[in-house]
Subunit: 578 residues, 2 copies
Amino acid sequence: MRASRYLIATQKETPADAEIISHQLMLRAGLIRKLAAGLYTWLPMGLRTLRKVERIVREEMDRSGAQELLMPAVQPAELWRESGRWDEYGGELLRMNDRHGREFCFGPTHEEVITDLIRNELKSYKQLPANFFQIQTKFRDERRPRFGVMRAREFIMKDAYSFHISAESLDETYQLMHRTYCAIFDRLGLDYRPVQADSGAIGGSGSQEFHVLASSGEDAIVFSTGSDYAANIEKAEAMAPAGERPAPTQAMTEVATPGQRTIANITEFLKEDVTQTVKTLLVKAEAEAGAEEGSDPGLVALVLRGDHSLNEIKAENLAGVADPLTMATDEEIQHATGCAPGSIGPVNLPVPVIVDRSAAHLADFVCGANKDDVHLTGVNWLRDLPLGRVEDLRNVVEGDASPCGQGTLEIRRGIEVGHIFKLGNKYSKALNATVLDENGKTATMSMGCYGIGVSRIVAASIEQNHDDRGILWPDAIAPFRVAVVLLNGHKSPAVAEAGEKLYQQLQQAGYDVLLDDRNERPGVKFADMELTGIPHRFVVSDRGLEAGTLEYKGRSDADKQDVALADAISFLKSVSPL
Amino acid sequence: MRASRYLIATQKETPADAEIISHQLMLRAGLIRKLAAGLYTWLPMGLRTLRKVERIVREEMDRSGAQELLMPAVQPAELWRESGRWDEYGGELLRMNDRHGREFCFGPTHEEVITDLIRNELKSYKQLPANFFQIQTKFRDERRPRFGVMRAREFIMKDAYSFHISAESLDETYQLMHRTYCAIFDRLGLDYRPVQADSGAIGGSGSQEFHVLASSGEDAIVFSTGSDYAANIEKAEAMAPAGERPAPTQAMTEVATPGQRTIANITEFLKEDVTQTVKTLLVKAEAEAGAEEGSDPGLVALVLRGDHSLNEIKAENLAGVADPLTMATDEEIQHATGCAPGSIGPVNLPVPVIVDRSAAHLADFVCGANKDDVHLTGVNWLRDLPLGRVEDLRNVVEGDASPCGQGTLEIRRGIEVGHIFKLGNKYSKALNATVLDENGKTATMSMGCYGIGVSRIVAASIEQNHDDRGILWPDAIAPFRVAVVLLNGHKSPAVAEAGEKLYQQLQQAGYDVLLDDRNERPGVKFADMELTGIPHRFVVSDRGLEAGTLEYKGRSDADKQDVALADAISFLKSVSPL
């Protein structure tokens, strides 16, 4: 490609609304442009990288034996009603009516459509297992789209769906997809980790996320220092502290705490360690089955150690707690307890109480007294209040014992770029997707699903590969592998001619080449080639040509080097094999 | 690909609701499946062909110097309001509201989005010309989706948009796109014709359609026997008959025609030739500028020869006629003329009259008398009624003089697969897309747009390439170029082994191969390979192996032939060069 005929849409200024480095660099390097919130145009330079990511994903999926197809983006509401998701999915589902008033959505995922297709096409267990994938534009109407293509509304995803006659067959394909995903992310040059996404369970994994490790990641990922255990913090089990609960040593005492309403206030005021305090959060209880619609199901108290944070997903998955988790309002708290939120505690609390494992292990602790501006110290379970229901309610913290039983936990941040999931018969049962089994009997198929965020990978790669001058693309997904920069090409016919010849030779050798033949100052050209992250750069100049050399610099090299003009191709092959 | 691990979703029965052969064969060959009206899933076999079409389009667009990008499918209403199309576009625009209530559409085309992008990115005439394309899923909410992917609602299109500083530059790119489209359709193996789509004007074309000729085509295409002239019948000019209008020879006479209300009735009843009759159609007049909304603009009469058909596009483009064309109701006719529709004529008609060129050339003609069940014979223009406004109102018919001045017209049917169009400054002006010109002054860019219906091409190719056993794919877009069919491969290790070896060798030689290793009867396999249109077929059998041969048959060959096993690759290279 000749740069003079190509849209090099680089920008010097960092866009004000771009919070993370990949978003900034994708705008500055001219890879994307925003059309509207969460909607981005891929400019030519960005699309080249996107297509290379796509190709690697496709090649490895093909190699795994998965069959590519392409389902419509627009899906009829009826199928989503069959699965029950039309009502469940919420605001992220972009719904629309066609000209005849029929309801459709812009597909965020395709479980219903593929299950409908396969229930019609496959008849016998002999046709199983089968795995189908597509690479397609999806839409999720994110409430707060941000971070550029990292959390866009319209995005490109590879989604695959497998069908099975048995759990063993599902497990085999699940493992095959695990290996395929590793091959894909390896080829993409990403530093990634497969992470447990199964609630609580260790090993036998029915769901794993693939995370690219990056400080800007939206997800906190938990690793064990003693094993391969890795989990999304949303799912990492917080173990009960080791040993028995200490015996009481203090008497329970009421203390006036005027105006002290936060844990920080209280620990400061009472000179107590935060680990000796508990906080009590009031949330909505779950409506009972058969309860009248609109009737108030009341509140539930969640008790955690003062230094611990509530894990909302764990909480809302508990029986008796409303899902989604809904905090009580100040009015509801006042009404239920007779006091304001800052002075609530579990002693004599007139609502059901659920205690976190770590809070349940405390002795002589501090808590609110359910009277405004009064706290209790020296509180002990069983002696001063009953200890009923104990659950895992909190997020793990660094240094916690690993739930795998080996080592302690470390926490890093990750960007989810892939997810493999055993669906079991959730969709096949709802849509009645069956085949005849070996005995000629109707059997519901098992399913797996396997997603990769194709457009998100471009951003994730930049999060891992950049410096202060711009992007550092891995060879495999660089928009161009090599740049040939002409110095004074407009004035020197020798430079123009030698550059053109090198450009042709490199292309013939199989390289993607950007010939920078623009009539720009050398500094502008170098800055653009660095900002856009082209991994390899040759410079053609009059001075070099006199000596029969080119200047070569790898994007992350500290120094340039001279390469004989005649050796350019073989040199490049040695540093960047095809 | 091994057929035993591949979705071969062939069907014996012709689906009842598939009207045209390509729709029938795409369903029967397992290329597509319907999800909902106008929404189709591309099954693996169909997607392979679709991707090959896509690749050819992309390669030739790349070769032309156009730059590929990818714009969002979902577009904000604001941009469409800027161009005025939000209100103009009508029911085909699929509109939706996001979770915050903001208006969007699923893009049927991208003039607004590209113009918005380019007005922000390009600053100088030095960056022009520039041509950008994408290959993308579009949506048009067709009122009556039909014919499978031929007129689907969701479809894949290549759309390109070029930007220019001058009309000359636009013309150059327009001509380049014309050549590029010819190269694309040539490589796709289509029998196609570029067709004038410019209203009236000959030569200097601002718009051309590319039509694949097929009897099922939705469009009637007009060709001259004496030149290269070709036009969509919607646009083909109907010339005035040669020579002077004959002189009157009859007196105008009232004739009772009880119950005779159609042209066919009247010609039968009066024993007159249909070419001596005229019909008078009453349509809504155009509302006058500044007229009150809802005020009745009245009617206009369109007079045509009895054997001619009204060209609605020509009519609605005329000053004074409502656009879109709207026929008067029986009540409106009765009210305006005092009689029923079957007896209307231009003599003393109390509404403005527009006469078609051919009707204006008649003498001694027959028409309604504006009294129920009465007609006039021997009517002559100027003598019996004024001849005011004469226009081209009708569709051309076979044998008409060509508007190019050479030869006469023939009519064939076509499927529009491409369209190139000089937009001029329609969008750049509305969206204020300017650059600085040579003199540093602000200049509005000129634009061209260039579309290809990628998914439609698959169906159009089948319309041209099929026989009673199925599809006849050209090599370039066959899902697989070669099938290797094993006879009794499950029972004969020799057949399985030789087949596997041939399969590997063909793949290494660069061919797409489908190895039919299914445990099916030979007849089933042959029928499937023929239905799916695989162009080349080798059969591996025990009997052949004993003689060291394979059986070869080209899909459209009358006979099979034996080929030495050792010569298979070189034989295939000779009949199907890569």
